[in-house]
Amino acid sequence: MLHVDSVEASYGAFLALSGVTLEIRAGEIVALLGPNGAGKTTLIRCIAGLLRPRAGEIRWDGASLAGVAAHRIVERGIAVVPEGRRLFATMTVEEHLDLGAFAPHAHAGRAERLEEIYAIFPILRERKRQLVRALSGGQQQMVAISRALMAAPRLLVLDEPSLGLAPRIVESILGVLGEINRRGVSILLVEQNVQAALVLAHRGYVLESGRIAGEGTGAALMNDPHVKRAYLGPLALRL
């Protein structure tokens, strides 16, 4: 479904990704792990079309995404929940969800999708007329995820959805990702919370200094002492 093939990307002279190759198949949850500065967010920006790879190729349904405008990538079925949520400060919950279905393909079925989302996150229905800044961090993350889901994606990409949230909230949000996946949406999950991510994910990749340093099933990665020690850093102590 999504093929990232030997992608190199740089910010000016700084090479952030060098030869990253990974794949996400239909129906999968794939975790992308790695320390800060490893290039995880850079890879997501490449997939979203915000940053163009210097070399290599990203293919979606077999077609290259090179030269496809970022908003068209959303139309093709990839929606991103960005790091830090990036909600619109002056807008209500409802306006976010409405904008999420902005792309023409998503516009048609938006009423049913809205109902689905309210079923997953009932609190958002109660809060729909409130500005997002009045919401708690967990609720804001729900809005960010819901905004992406309103675009009717086939692949949902999440960049550190648990950042800054209480463990209980993280658990419930990750649980919801499993539910979303069962409804047929593939997921690429970037997570600092390694254990939770690997329990949820079918497979995982470890990114380090812009390279793929390991890959495997969730269980395999979790039990790989080399991966633990070398790439998960202090977090490995918790595994």
């Binding site: 915000l50 908003h71 929606a79 991103v80 400060a89 807008m91 902005f102 998503a106």
Partner: protein, 316 residues
């Protein structure tokens, strides 16, 4: 109530202040008269600023030729009136769509290139393009209409509403109402129209807007076209209640900038209020310090707001 008045300086009470220079004689009627005139021109300041604020807020591009676009809007209405006798208020129906298209063309031809550059260089590039465009439009206007000052004098141009001794020129009152309606309409568009929301999202965080599936370039185009249309409308109203000449552009750009700094970005109704405040403040300073200081107060406000509340009075 309605009658025609030409030179009508409303100084009535002549008591303890006889002998004072006329501009500081605090006749209540005079004060009210000046305040009313301040509010009336303030509405146009607000309208002039709304277009510039929209473009600046969304594109992070400062179009310093905005005043020249206002000037052209004024000449558009003037032309329609002189050549075909079209009423200037009715001319809005022509000027606004034409300005909308002109805005789209300006975006495609000039400002669309600026937004391709990095956000920090946008302002600088847009200043260069704006100054160049302003000069070109000014020169073109001199060629087309000469440097003479003009205004549209309709049959009802001198009509005033007399409210307890205070004269309210009807044409300017109508302009204020229209300015308010246009800004209110823009406010509703930004709140409820699909592309209005897309414009707000883009203004807030254009990358997040892209990731939401919004064609950000299209949002820029729509915002620029609407901003230019508002400039055209403002120009039309200026030409009917006040006067226009090819050189008014810079003055109007400055007024608009002061209002934007005063009101802050993000709220169109706040921008309108900011315009009214500037108009009233100018009127007050003209009364207290004399006419020549009218222009100074805006710059003083500019500085005070920048120091005390840099985000503006009504910024969200």
């Amino acid at each position: 109530m309605t009658r025609t008045s030409s030179a009508r300086t409303s100084v009535r009470s002549r008591s303890a202040y006889d002998g004072f220079p006329e501009h500081i004689r605090p006749s209540m009627t005079l004060v009210l008269q000046q305040l009313v005139l301040g509010v009336l021109i303030g509405g146009l300041y607000g309208l002039a600023a709304a277009g510039l604020s929209l473009i600046f807020g969304v594109m992070k591009v400062l179009n310093v030729a905005h005043g020249e676009l206002i000037m052209l809007g004024g000449y558009g209405a003037f032309w329609l009136f002189a050549l075909s006798g079209l009423d200037p208020f009715a001319a809005l129906v022509v000027v606004i769509p034409v300005a909308l298209v002109a805005g789209a063309i300006l975006y495609w031809g000039l400002f669309g290139w600026v937004v391709r550059s990095h956000e920090e260089t946008r302002i600088k590039n847009s200043l260069l393009i704006g100054f160049g465009l302003g000069l070109a439009l000014h020169a073109a206007a001199v060629l087309l209409w000469t440097a003479d000052e003009r205004s549209i004098t309709t049959a009802y141009a001198g009509s005033v509403l007399d409210v307890g001794g205070v004269s309210v020129p009807l044409v300017r009152l109508a302009s204020l109402v229209i300015a308010f309606l246009l800004i209110g309409g823009l406010h509703l568009l930004l709140d409820h129209w699909r592309w209005g929301r897309a414009i707000r999202a883009t203004a807030d965080d254009w990358e997040a807007a892209l990731m939401t599936g919004i064609d950000v370039r299209r949002a820029y185009l729509v915002a620029f076209a609407i901003g230019t249309a508002l400039a055209g409308a403002a120009g039309t109203l200026v030409s009917v209640g006040y006067s226009i000449s090819p050189s008014i552009g810079l003055e109007w750009t400055l007024k608009a900038l002061i209002v934007i700094v005063l009101a802050g970005l993000g709220s169109m109704l706040g921008t309108f209020a900011g315009g009214l405040i500037l108009g009233v403040a100018e009127a007050c300073s003209a009364m207290v310090f004399g006419g020549p200081y009218r222009e100074v107060v805006g710059l003083v406000i500019f500085l005070i707001v920048l120091v005390a509340r840099p985000q503006g009075l009504f910024a969200k």
